[in-house]
Symmetry: C2
Amino acid sequence: MDAQPHGPTVHDDGTTTFDLWAPRPRSVAVQVGDTEPVPLEQRAHGWWRARVPARTGDRYGFRLDGGELLPDPASRRQPDGVHGPSALFDVSALAWSPEEARWRSAPLAGAVIYELHIGTFTPGGTFDAATERLDAVAALGVTHLEVMPINAFNGERGWGYDGVFWYAAHESYGGPEGFARFVDACHRRGLGVILDVVYNHLGPSGNVLPRYGPYLTDRYATPWGEALNLDGPGADQVRGFIVGNALHWLESFHVDGLRLDATHALIDTSSTHVLAEMADAVADLATRVQRPLELIAETDRQDPATIRPREAGGLGLDGQWCDDLHHGLHVALTGEREGYYADYTGLPDVARSYSRGFVYDGRYSPGRQRTVGAALGSLSSHRLVTCLQNHDQVGNRPTGDRLTTTVDHGRLRAAVLLLLAAPSTPMLFMGEEHGETNPFLYFSGHPEPELAEAVRRGRREEFADFPGFHGEVPDPQDPTTFAASIVDHGKSREAAGRSWRALWADLLAL
Amino acid sequence: MDAQPHGPTVHDDGTTTFDLWAPRPRSVAVQVGDTEPVPLEQRAHGWWRARVPARTGDRYGFRLDGGELLPDPASRRQPDGVHGPSALFDVSALAWSPEEARWRSAPLAGAVIYELHIGTFTPGGTFDAATERLDAVAALGVTHLEVMPINAFNGERGWGYDGVFWYAAHESYGGPEGFARFVDACHRRGLGVILDVVYNHLGPSGNVLPRYGPYLTDRYATPWGEALNLDGPGADQVRGFIVGNALHWLESFHVDGLRLDATHALIDTSSTHVLAEMADAVADLATRVQRPLELIAETDRQDPATIRPREAGGLGLDGQWCDDLHHGLHVALTGEREGYYADYTGLPDVARSYSRGFVYDGRYSPGRQRTVGAALGSLSSHRLVTCLQNHDQVGNRPTGDRLTTTVDHGRLRAAVLLLLAAPSTPMLFMGEEHGETNPFLYFSGHPEPELAEAVRRGRREEFADFPGFHGEVPDPQDPTTFAASIVDHGKSREAAGRSWRALWADLLAL
């Protein structure tokens, strides 16, 4: 990869150096506020640079070949949304608590992860509002929060996986300052922070990256459109953009780990896979900052190469999501056998998960119509993150219903025990600790009417043939769909909620 | 993969068992000669089977859902060309010489490979005609022949990389019996046979495989169209078709190794890459038949994972082509810096090839505009096959000119010395041993006028911007283009030819 960091560097003297990778245009100018555009100087390999008067908070953008003002691909802030200008933000000026200097997160072996979505974790929907709930989460015995994507995405509401500015913190959550305060607050309560990051595609609105350079390629397809260009011309800089982003959150924002979204969609035929390169770079950073830093892949593959050490020819990631235990438990609890559940029978899968980690470790999958996976071998099962519920397993159901609303609570309690007794690393989904019954629905807030309608239609079509479902799919664009998904922490004070919390806390204390 | 072999099994009792993978149609019938079609019985995973009266030589085909007669994807013979019916061939009835039972090829370390194209190696253009030249090749000190693809392709003339029946031996070369006689003849002269096989795409005419099942996918693109489906639904059987084909040539035809065409175009995200699966299967076969069997990848990657042992996380192939030494020598000899030669400077690349194997082993490639390769490390350089000329390096020049016609012969002799002194495994291209001056041109023999014109146009467009070339590209469809490429072995009796042969033979004797 190319080690030149992407994005602006704010200096103490009232100037900022803009480093931009833009091999496509023949001229580039930066415009700060309403001042005259200043040309950037062309450098090698598609890089441009200029140092101009500009400070934190200043809005800016680039004009390519004299065209319209475009935000910075490595924007740190999009104060007016993804279609507005970028804004400067000096991460080195952040005020951290004295405890931060001594902070180290717990090791992944023995960890308990709590997944949350900033927008619906509290009615406030911000980093600061979430901070007020941290004491209660820490009291459960959780060691790490996993925060769904906070990068800048189109509109105000959304799951965050359609981000278009990977280096920015979503403005309506509180922006980069809010996120830094939140990380600090987590650490002061002994909670590590794993940030969910998406490197496999860009969202459908506000993606300006292809205007600048060959970030994307049509050589490979993803379910969400063009794939990232990890192995074609310009790939060094695209890989640097991705690996640099991982370092950005880990180093500048003190995050303790990253959950890498849908890594199976990162098609990379290079001699060194971009995730292996990331693992190396993060290992170097961990040595430098003297903190453990974790990389956890979301993947639909039961491929031990993901978590096999680099020295043994693997990608060298620290952990991966594995849905096998979830699917086995879900089938045991619900009897559902539709879709990917067709590959599971229930408790036999739970037993196999316990003993072998992967249920599909070189077995024929009727659902995928091919042989799937390979044996975990000597790799420890603690590297597999497993759950009873997560944002996908709940939110990708037509009505976003949680297990509490469909399954006998006695059996559900037994399933919690089976999850926590497993040798894998358990994760719970916000609200699960008090038996939340509010749904977690798919929601979005695209301002463009056509895109909004396309998302609505896509969601309806997704569930048109969903077995056993004949109702109306909630409109993802309707603000009430978002509102219905907000966690009701008040339930934790009711009898049922207290009983659920006691179960989780007692088991986690063991 | 699915271990069920594809294709017919001819029995002694006048019947044949037809095993066909065809998940797409709802009914399948086999028609032998002019007899009534007989329905096949449906089995699991898209397989069909029937045992019917049929013998070696009988023509047959399948009718899917009552449609037209189609050849067998695993056809062993296409006596009337790729658009005609298939024909049965009983490989177990082949007559092998007594020496065959004791035959073992030389190890790759120390080997010298001689690449040839059956159609142009002799004026006869057949296996039997080629056999008459084997004594002279063996006398050079060559240990292995590498035979350009012999699978059934459209038309009579062609390089063979556009094959559509991978299990068949091209009829105009002499068909499967001719090939078996040729292998036997090579072995009797101490020559191992490496067969060039193409698993990354199918030719533009005569490909019936998609009618039967999902052999191809649009998830990935290759320069020649849709990629093989190695990791989607049905991939077990597609992988079985490929690995089974490798075993077919190695086991039934006694071939000693395979040269796997353009392996970089085999995109496979499975836990076990199809080439690793092939390496395992071939290693098992080698143990069973007690002969060394070699797998050599053609790849444009300097990726040591290709030849790293399976135990160390690699694909476990025995060797790979590496063009770095060729490109360095070619630049040193010709001064050409166009196209991919822009990445090379000449003798410094030769020195680097000698010391490190790969010239691009994690270095930035200006031509590819990205960092390429990784260090070979402790892997032996004998696993890299290198050359001064091969079918691609000669034939993919506009006029197919060989170095003898453009380069000072004193310098060319020095280059031969540099090739043979390198720690890699040397390969020469038919005729090079006597300083052949006939070109090796790109030629094809598509009978369809539209396809013929498309190939002509494609070839013209490929060289429209070729620096320093302003002439007419020879028409690949013109029979004289093919005829001009035939090796003139008479030259080996002339003074210049004798001198070239003496150089090669003397150096190889060292």
